[in-house]
Structure formats: C-alpha cells, structure tokens
Subunit: 362 residues, 2 copies
C-alpha cells in the first residue's frame, strides 16, 4: 500500500488497484496525449472511441464472452436494471421467475412486479434470514417464463451461488455486481449478466451488461429510450452521453486484470484470501459466521461476536489498525470484510491479526 | 493553460477548470485524509456524506435556490429525464406542453408521448431549422397542463431563450444542460430546472435537478424506483449508489465558482468572451452565422463558411493551432465553438485570430 492509504474493506464503492489509481492521476490533466482530461473529452471523439471499444474488448477477453453476446454500458446501476430488465425481456408471456437470496434480489423481484403480469417467486431463503442460497431442488421454475433472475453474490449476507441454476430454455439473468471479475464465469450459461461496476471494476456510475443477442428485440412501449437494450447495442452504448469516466476506469482495471494473468489468477488469489479469513473463523468460537459453509462468498465475509456491544467495540477499533468499513450492513449488523480483487493478502492477514488480538483481549 | 493542454471547444463533455483538475489529481490516491480515493469511498461514509451535502449546498448558494426547492442528483442524463419527467409530473391531467426549439427539446417531446395522454406541441421553430427561439406570442399554452417543458440553451443550434415563458400557474420545466452555471437564474420562476452536468459542471454521469417541493408527490405506477423524485429527495439522492465521482466534481467546480465570485462574475466573463466571437462574426462576410441575433447562445457559437469544403479545411486546421472539437454537430454541419465557463478569454481570442488568418488566406 502507498503511504497514507488504508485497508478499505468497503462493500461498495470499493478499493481499486493502486496502479489504476496512479494511472488515472497521471492522466488527469492530459489523457493519452489528447491535450485534455478524459473528464473533458467528447464521447464522439476518436480518443474516447478507442477507450470505450477497448473497455468492451477487454471485458470480452477477460470474461471469455462468446461472440453472440453484446457488452453494454448502461445508466442507473443495478437498481435501474431491476426496472429495465422486465421492460426489455418480459414481452413474450409477461412472466418471470425470481430467486430471492438476499436484499438486492428481493428488490429486483419487487421492482419487476410493476411491469410484469406475473412476477413469480421461484424460491427464497428469507425465512432463514438469507443464510444460504436456495438449492435447485427448492426452486419452482416455469418453462413459460420470459426469464429467471438471480443475484449471484449477496453483498449484505455474504453468500454466493455454488451452482448455476438449471433453467432449461429459459434465459438465466444474473446480477453479478459484487462478484464480477472475481473468478471466471461460463457466460454461455446466462442470457444476461449485469453488474453495477462500483465493487470490483470501477467507480460508481455505470452498469455493465453482457447480453445474448437473441434477447435484443421488442421491448415494452413504456421502456425509456436510454434503457432499450437493442438500441443501446446498435449505438455502442452511446445513445446519449454515457458515463465516460467509469467506462474509462473499466478499461484500466481490465487492462490491469489482463496484466495480472486474468480471472484464473484472480480466483486463486481470492480463494487464498477468503480461506485465511474463513479458516480463522472456523478455528475459534469468539467470532461467529452464520453463513452456510457451501454458500460462502469469496468477496464479502460476514461475522459477529456474541454481542452488539463487542461488535461496536471491534468496529470502533478499526481505524487504529489502519482499516475502514468493517461495520456490517444496517440490515444485519455485526461485521463485514469485503475483500475484492484489489484487497491485498496482507490486508486480510492484518485483519485476522486484529481479530486474534481482539478475541484474546476479551 | 498548463503546458501540453489545448483549447478544447467541445460541446460536451467539455473543458473543466484547471484548478479543479489539479485538485482531483492531487486527491486521487487519498481524498481529504481518508486514506482512500473518492472513487473507492462508500457513499454511506461520513467523508462522502460531507461531499454530497457540500455539493447540494454549493448549488443552492451559487444559484440562490429558494428554500422550497430540493437539489437532487439523478441517473440517466437529460435523456433519462425526458422519461422521468412525465412519469413524475404528468399525473393530474396527463397532459403537458412542449416548446420545441432544437434537437433535445424535440427528443423530450417525443419521449413524453410514451407516457402522457396528451403531450402537446406548444410551439416550434423547426420550420426555420431552429435558428431562433419561439416567442411567447408563438406559444399555445394550456392552463390545464401538468407542466410546460423547454430547453433553455440549444447546444447544437447555438440559441438560447432570451425570455422566461409566462406559464401562469403551470410549472415551467427547463433543461439547462448547456447553460447551467453560466449566468444567474431566477430559480423561483421554474418548477424544475435540470441539467446533464457534462458541459459546465462535471464529467458525464449525473443529472442535476432542482425541484420545487410541491412537485414532489404521487408518480405514475410504472416509475422506476430510481426515478421517483419524492423518494430520491427523501433519501438525499442515495436511494441506490449514486454516481459519486461526478457529484464530487460538482462540489469542486461550485467551490471554484464561489471563489471566482459567483455567477454574476461568470456571466460578465461569458458575455465578454461571446462578444469577441459575435463581434468578429458580425464584422465580416467570410464566416456566417444563421442564428437570430436576439437568441444567440452565450455558450455555443455556431458559424460556417460558404462551402462544406472550406468548413472541412477550417476544422482540419484546428489541431495545428492547439484547438479541438470545432466541428459542428452532424445534424447541422459547419463549425461550433463551445465556450463554457472554463474556456479562458485567451482561447476565444486565439480562435478569432485563426478565423481571421483563415479568411485572409482564402
């Protein structure tokens, strides 16, 4: 870590690779010899066209995206997509199946009800306070659904899918906001993968969407112009002025991922980092984690002590250790360490050291 | 200008003040002593909360916003607002009056038709290729309209309103994307003022909206969650993760505007800069401008020679002079010089010198 910087365990927006921040800094007054900042650049300029095209190509390369998919950058974050998805996909039968495994998939389901004739709950782990992912056997999927929706990694609860739901001919749509680029994905198994970029890819402000081409077609008449996936695909995400800066950072971060060896390397590092934390959690009784072991997230590790008072004390002590954002989400309390790609192994080791010291002192 | 930088006449995204770019650069690795970049910061953190609150307060201060207005930061740009406005405001009679004075107001009108029972054309200068703003006498306004919409400054055609349309009790909604912060505005005359920030305020990716509180209320049931103005006002624009970085730049740019003496000072400078260009245009016959003199934009100055070939040659010669983005919009051809707040007077003088030299040589 560069001097003065801390281990930032924020769930989102989140830590970015320092080489990327340095590059942004160095280009801030003059980007690629253009005589201007990327912030000041026309999205119709040649320099910017190269940037967005490189971002698209990098995403394709790093995620090994098949040729029959389009990579789009859209407005409104994942929450915007919760509305845009039914508008774009819910036009054949007007029905879709939603797997609810946490807060955001619940939000997606609720938003879809505004637009679909029949937004159906395909399965939910809410009764167990979302401590696991519904299994395939627990799902009720309908072959006539226009799509099946799931949230791959649940940032708040610290769970992730350990299997890809079998949906037959129905397109599977996955919100991968908090797992994107953390490990390889078999894109061909999905109709759409989308992600708010602010966790593992770029600063907040753009939504990455990887869409199978046969899903680009007629939309509901009420679809706002900027959320018509087909038109955005035809316009290379430039139907209106796109959020140019976060797209530029997507380009830089994916450049970095390629330099590092790609997603197999990231997966190995992420598994190693998560193992340090989970192994410690499993080795003692002071800190508890309620997540079903098979469904543990690689990116967001949730834990707590036996009392809210001790949790508070643990969080209050983080700054002195050079950490931040270890407080759990307000919906669940306790603690959460988000350990995205850019979190170094040393940060996780330092956290476990703090946990050991804290446990020993209480 | 800092060495290596050029006079960037881009219509949007556009030139930003160098002191702001320097500040962004200097804080890129560590923002306000937080140990992290603003790009990496939780939007729920205290540091970021101070940033967004300061941005809101600065906008209120600089534009002298009355107390009964809310300042919001929304997703989707002005084009997103074209859909969000009828969804939020078109719920009483389902009708609205649209003044069409250029490409974007035309786009707003077209998008509104998707949602309103009766989107009406209140007046248009399309028959004259948008070379002027429809006058009050040319408008057909209905007292039962839910709102009247106009676009204050037409970036593509180089016109701006010289008067505030009298709409009685019907709220006036103005898209000020390309004039915001260029001069003082009597906010009390408007129901809503909104602006994509990428011209005079910040990098692309957020929409500033200043909304009179009585217009925050029931919305159409199909309104996406992220575009419910009332909820966004209650949540201080943080219903979901906001585009944190452009909001941070809004804060820095408005800090800068305050340091410079506010919008009266900017207006004086902008009038002085525009006068240099218009005076030259009026003094000769080589370059022509078709805009009605009373409706000339302070921000976007359009002109052309007698032929497309000469226009091309003029644009081709810009780089050698240290300029960029002088090409007119594809809809109108010719040339356009966008001279937002951050364009120094010296840039405009240098442009006129180039124009003189070019005219003399042909």
């Amino acid at each position: 870590m560069i001097e003065g910087r801390i281990y930032n365990f924020s769930a989102g927006p989140s830590i970015l690779p320092e080489p990327v921040l340095l590059k942004i800094r160095d280009e801030m007054l003059n980007c690629e010899g253009s005589g201007m900042s990327v912030l000041e650049m026309s999205h119709r300029s040649k320099v910017y066209d190269n940037i967005i095209n490189a971002a698209v190509q990098n995403v394709k390369d790093v995620l090994n995206v098949p040729d029959n998919y389009k990579v789009l950058f859209l407005h409104g974050g994942a929450t915007g997509m919760f509305a845009a998805l039914p508008m774009n996909l819910g036009v054949k039968t007007g029905s879709a199946d939603y797997i609810v495994s946490g807060n955001f998939s619940g939000g997606a389901y609720k938003e879809a009800k505004k637009y679909l004739k029949d937004a159906r709950l395909a399965g939910s782990s809410e009764a167990d306070n979302f401590n696991h992912i519904p299994t395939q056997d627990e799902l009720t999927l309908n072959p006539d659904a226009d799509y099946v929706h799931c949230c791959w990694n649940n940032t708040i609860f610290g769970t992730k899918f350990g299997y890809i739901p079998e949906t037959g001919n129905v397109p599977l749509v996955a919100d991968m906001s908090s797992s994107i680029m953390s490990e390889p994905v078999d894109v061909s198994k999905y109709g759409i993968i989308y992600a708010g970029v602010q966790k593992n890819l770029a600063p907040a402000g753009v939504t990455l969407a990887i869409i199978r081409e046969d899903l680009l077609g007629d939309v509901m008449p009420i679809t706002p112009k900027i959320w018509n996936f087909k038109t955005e695909a035809e316009k290379n995400s430039m139907l209106n002025t796109p959020p140019c800066f976060p797209i530029y950072v997507v380009k830089l971060v994916t450049d970095y991922l390629k330099e590092q060896g790609g997603l197999e390397v990231m997966k190995k590092r992420n598994e190693e980092k998560a193992k340090i934390l989970y192994d410690y959690l499993d080795s003692q009784d002071f800190f508890k984690t309620t997540v079903n072991p098979a469904d543990r997230s690689l990116m967001n590790v949730t834990f707590r002590t036996e009392s809210d008072e001790l949790d508070k004390e643990f969080v209050a002590g983080q700054a002195a250790r050079g950490f931040s954002n270890l407080k759990g989400h307000r919906l669940v309390g306790g603690m959460r360490a988000s350990i995205y790609n850019a979190m170094p192994k040393e940060g996780v080791e330092a956290l476990v050291e703090y946990m050991r010291d804290f446990a020993a002192a209480h």
